[in-house]
Amino acid sequence: MSYEIVARPHEQNFIDWSKDKPEVVVLTADLTNSCEVGRWRDTYPDRYFSMGMAEQNMMGMAAGLAREGFEPWLHTFAVFLYRRPLDQLQMSVAYPSLKVRLMGFLPGIMTPGGVTHQAIEDIAVLRSVPNMTIFEVGDATEAESILDVAHEVDGPVYIRALRGEVSRIFPKSEPFKFNTARILSTGSDITLITSGIITEEALRAIPLLQEKGIGINHLHISTLKPFTDPLVLKAIEGAKHGVITMENHSIVGGLGSMVAELMADNGIGLKLKRIGLQDTYAHGASQKYLMSEYGLDAKALVETVATLLGKDLGISETDLQEVRTVSVHSSAKAEAL
């Protein structure tokens, strides 16, 4: 299993996309090149505004611009969009439901920058903020096609964005669709719901599980709020042995919690296993190492399936290694902050 690797899917795509949208402006907080908008700045210098390392003011300035009909796209690391400036995000942007787009790069444990740079509870925090729309892209096709989807939302949008070397898992002909799950495989034993980069990781294990005769109903979620796609409920209802969620986020408040709420709301009495950061911070290391260390990898999925089924599946680490051709791109790790 090997996917095409796309270098910097956001960079040129965002330049091309912005060309006929003079209302689109970019605000950054000293991470311009790190968020792939250095060339955007050089292309549209009159629409680019450096706000320095001052995210609270950046959020308020974005609100003012949006009130006047501009569409600010803030580019910085995910953590810096919701931790420090949360009050500003809530009162200046979310309450008036302004068209501000928050491009949060390096979500979850994708950065060796350690705890200060790892947005592990952004979904939990922001999904509790009224008027927010939350997206997470899982591959290059979604990174490219999210722009149109976000542009259409008449309110604030937070995007867990991808940069650098990104796999193309979904064909270009199947762009990001608002509030629509992608069904990646069908089966009646277990329903598996994944999001973001974790989907690619899960896809490594699924063929091995299927070879063992286990039916996996696999859904990829890219709209986290709203979370009302009827496909999700339908997939959960059909699971014989239970449901697994898998996310690059804390198990508290993210995809796992959303699915738990959906199941409880609908009286679905199935086991739910939530793979993700188990209510813990992480630290600075490579993505591959962290995914293994914190149990966010294909191995963790195989073990969780085995637990739900109550049997040893006979899938070894070597089996998983053999399918691991592109799981973590070496150049992504080497990239500077």
Partner: protein, 315 residues
């Protein structure tokens, strides 16, 4: 004659200053009357900022007129994502008249000054006199801490120091559209304890927002008491100048000084620091020192004393 000269000349006219003084007197009177009838109110804020707001609404601001004083609407709900009620929903900005490239904008930052702002709007025929009857009543937009549905409030700013950034964004948008109108922010001095204020000041200077204006009620009082006992912000004028702004320091009860300072066009974002007396016009408030933030009567006797002061005021 250019616009600024006209403004300066007109503001300096004795007639205008007299009108402004009447507005200021009306603000204090209305806020005291309301505080008496409601057994509470942000009284010291009216005492300190009456001239400042009278000068703004009475001539400094170039606002479109409203045809007749507006009846404050009932609250129709919060802004919702993707819903039509959102941006066109009745905001407090309607009390500032129609927007236009040549007109000024006025963003009120200390939302707890709401009662004082409402009084100023009544005095300048933008809000109906009986609008105050809705103050702090369930289902009303005339809220105690104003938000963007409240008369005179264009944005939601009760979490202090957020207005200057919002106004910076508005000023930046207007600069991109080459509009001639200014964007004004009314701030309280306590907000200069917040880090965001300084972020906003540095950004406005960096992006050369030369039509951004800030006017501050430097009453040196905050919720816990005198500011120098809570967290000093002095030397304020030196600090803001160091951040790239031009600044005027005036007696905040001297109308001609306020109007002169506000007419300056320095080519930089400009701040007018109005040093004020939080008991001006109501010396009885001195008995409440050191904490002046909110006046709630402790006894019938105290209420009676303020009744007497009110009678003096309207004599």
């Amino acid at each position: 004659m250019d616009y600024y000269q006209i403004l300066m000349n007109s503001n300096k006219s004795a007639h205008n200053l007299i009108k402004m003084q009447e507005i200021a007197t009306g603000i204090r009177r209305r806020v005291l009357a309301h505080t008496l009838s409601n057994n509470g109110g942000y009284m010291s804020q009216a005492c300190s900022s009456a001239e400042l707001l009278a000068a703004m609404y009475g001539g400094i601001l170039n606002l479109a007129p409203v045809p007749s004083p507006i009846d404050p609407p009932s609250f129709i709900g919060v802004p919702l994502v993707g819903k039509a009620i959102k941006r066109d929903y009745l905001t407090g900005a309607q009390f500032h008249g129609a927007k236009g490239p040549e007109f000024d904008r006025f963003i009120v930052s200390p939302a707890h000054y709401a009662l004082v702002v409402y009084a100023a709007l009544i005095e300048t025929n933008r809000l109906r006199e009986d609008g105050l009857e809705h103050f702090n009543k369930d289902g009303s937009t005339v809220e105690m801490i104003g938000a963007e549905h409240s008369p005179g409030f264009e944005t939601t700013t009760g979490s202090l120091s957020q207005a200057i950034s919002q106004a910076g964004g508005i000023a930046l948008a207007r600069k991109l559209r080459k509009e001639s109108g200014k964007t004004w922010v009314f701030m309280s001095d306590g907000e200069f304890q917040e880090g965001q204020t300084w972020e906003a000041l540095q950004a406005a200077a960096f992006h050369k927002l030369d039509k951004l204006r800030v006017i501050v009620d430097v009453n040196q009082a905050q919720c816990d008491g005198p500011m120098d006992s809570v967290m000093s912000i002095e030397p304020l004028v030196a600090r803001v100048k160091a951040f790239g702004w031009s600044a005027s320091v005036v007696d905040g009860h001297e109308l001609s000084a306020i109007t002169d300072a506000c007419a300056l066009d320095t080519g930089h974002p400009h701040i007018v620091l109005c040093y004020t007396d939080p008991v001006r016009g109501l010396p009885l408030l001195n008995e409440r020192r050191p904490v002046l933030h909110y006046l709630r009567f402790k006894s019938k006797d105290e209420h009676a004393k303020y009744e007497l002061a009110y009678k003096e005021m309207v004599k």
